[in-house]
Symmetry: C2
Subunit: 322 residues, 2 copies
């Protein structure tokens, strides 16, 4: 009801929207998101400039939030954070790339500055998972595990229309599940690991003819080589798919999930990753798990962080107005 009242007192000529904030290790991105998922007034700030203290970070963040509130009819603020959060989603535990924010009563600190408008936080990969449900093309597909493959590898499990946060609040840390060789999924398929692995492969005789020889590599360049059927690039993405498949065996046995959405930068190579992942799963699981196996690309891409963060408040709005 609070939201409905707010609309009445705010400018009736402005569109109601959510402020989505995507806090990353290098950039903090802000944008207004309409209830239909339109992203407007995007702004980005350097994370490092705010890292002197947690209070400075919150002060700067709140300053920008207040500017958005002055300019737009903001119904709520959703913030995606890269790390572990308290079960009640009020505090941070560990944010590996922004350690100044570790163990902070983050929501109360922000809410102290932003009165009357609800502020919610969530792990960034879980935000991206939720974003697919509220704003993506995978809105009504049923349960899924969203796998985010970028610098890090994260996950978000949408179960019965809600994020699964497990028993202590930080579920689906799939990037930290070890593969058979004891190395975690993230250390196999994180963006930099893929590039480093490709450099290694290029040193071997097998890939002497690869069009990637002598190039400065990144996942995009490797992807373009795969588009040209370069065997080294194809093998790299096939290995990525197999690594995901290997990790998912345990996840499927544990949570009986049969649907996966691959997102994040590396997942741009979906067409080369997904078949290997599917092949691995079909080789290692019986038909109960594979006959309805459904592996899809994420649909939000560039705006996934902002839309995911905004979707936190969509959830709240839905609950409040229901």
């Amino acid at each position: 009801m609070r939201y409905l009242q707010r609309r009445d007192v705010q400018s009736p000529d402005k569109k109601n929207m959510i402020l989505g904030i995507d806090v990353g290790g290098t950039t903090v991105k802000f944008a207004g998101v309409t209830l239909e998922g339109k992203v407007i007034d995007k702004q980005a700030f350097d994370t490092h400039a705010w890292e002197d203290s947690a209070q400075l970070f919150v002060d700067k963040l709140s300053e920008i939030i207040l500017r958005y509130i002055a300019k737009h009819n903001i119904e709520g603020v959703g913030i995606g954070l890269p790390g572990l959060l308290s079960q009640d989603r009020q505090s941070t535990h560990v944010l590996a790339n922004i350690p100044i924010l570790n163990n902070q009563k983050f929501v109360p600190m922000v809410q102290e500055k932003i009165k009357g408008i609800p502020v919610q936080i969530e792990n960034d990969a879980k935000c991206a998972a939720l974003g697919e449900m509220y704003f993506g093309e995978n809105a009504n597909c049923g349960d899924y595990l969203f796998i985010s493959i970028g610098t890090g590898v994260g996950g978000g499990y949408v179960l019965n229309g809600k994020l699964f946060i497990g028993s202590s609040g930080n579920a689906t840390e799939i990037g930290h599940i070890p593969l058979k060789d004891g190395v975690t999924l993230e250390d196999h398929i994180g963006q930099e690991k893929i590039t480093a692995h490709t450099y290694d492969l290029l040193k071997t005789k097998k890939y002497k003819q690869s069009i990637l020889q002598g190039k400065e590599l990144d996942p995009k360049i490797i992807y373009n080589a795969a588009l040209s059927s370069d065997s080294c690039a194809l093998d790299v993405f096939a290995e990525v798919g197999e690594c995901i498949g290997e990790t998912m065996i345990g996840v499927m046995r544990f949570a009986d999930i049969h649907r996966f959405i691959l997102g994040g930068g590396v997942a741009g190579a979906f067409e080369f990753i997904a078949p290997a992942m599917e092949g691995y799963l079909k080789n290692h699981l019986d038909s109960y798990y594979t006959e309805d196996l459904d592996i899809r690309p994420a649909s939000l891409n560039a705006e996934a962080g902002i839309l995911g963060a905004a979707s936190l408040v969509m959830d709240k709005l839905k609950q409040v107005t229901a």
Copy 2:
């Protein structure tokens, strides 16, 4: 409300109770269970004698149920089944040890014979997990993963006071999660595997002096040897603990579970298994996961199957009367 009415029409001098049925590959066990967890009028039947057809099985099962109903004030019937069930818990999928019951509309078939009294089914390991919550000493400990180690290895995850069944209904099949060597947890630590592994170890020079040499082995005998500090027996159970620990790394990353209850026959050796499991987890996870790590023995033991099955209806009763 249906239950309360039933009490009125039934003999007021009889105690209201639930009929718990534990369907195993060799025996089908029945018993009345009072709301306080007292087990009375236990009966057991040979599973194989009913295996001619699914209909015969249901007919025989229903015949016994009707006998209990005639004799006691049965409020509901809970049935634990060893295998995969449909998400709506009306049908069976795969019961590896009782294949005649695969893909049967089990609940409607039983309910056809048993009118007016609710019949519920659940996977047997999940029943045992729920039994700990309703009837065990671990009633109010919060969320936990129950790990059942017997002939097979199963699991049941109690999350917010309810069984977690995942997306397609058959979650926590932890016995089928492969370890680093590609062999599943069940194929490492199932009862027969432990015995076979011990025979193998006894052939090596290291365990030449073991008091287990020349004996016919079973987990109980190995346990007794461990009580006498036999190094072979101690090493066997330490390996069991390490195997569980290895499997739990992925489970903890996925569901953020920090509490485990070990049940089933092999878990009788809890004192020798748990320290190795704990050690493995502390060596492989940071303090976020291990500072509140809680590994407990199951408290129900011999009656776990019956009490677990009965607890299915406790759940229903609680919902109906709430």
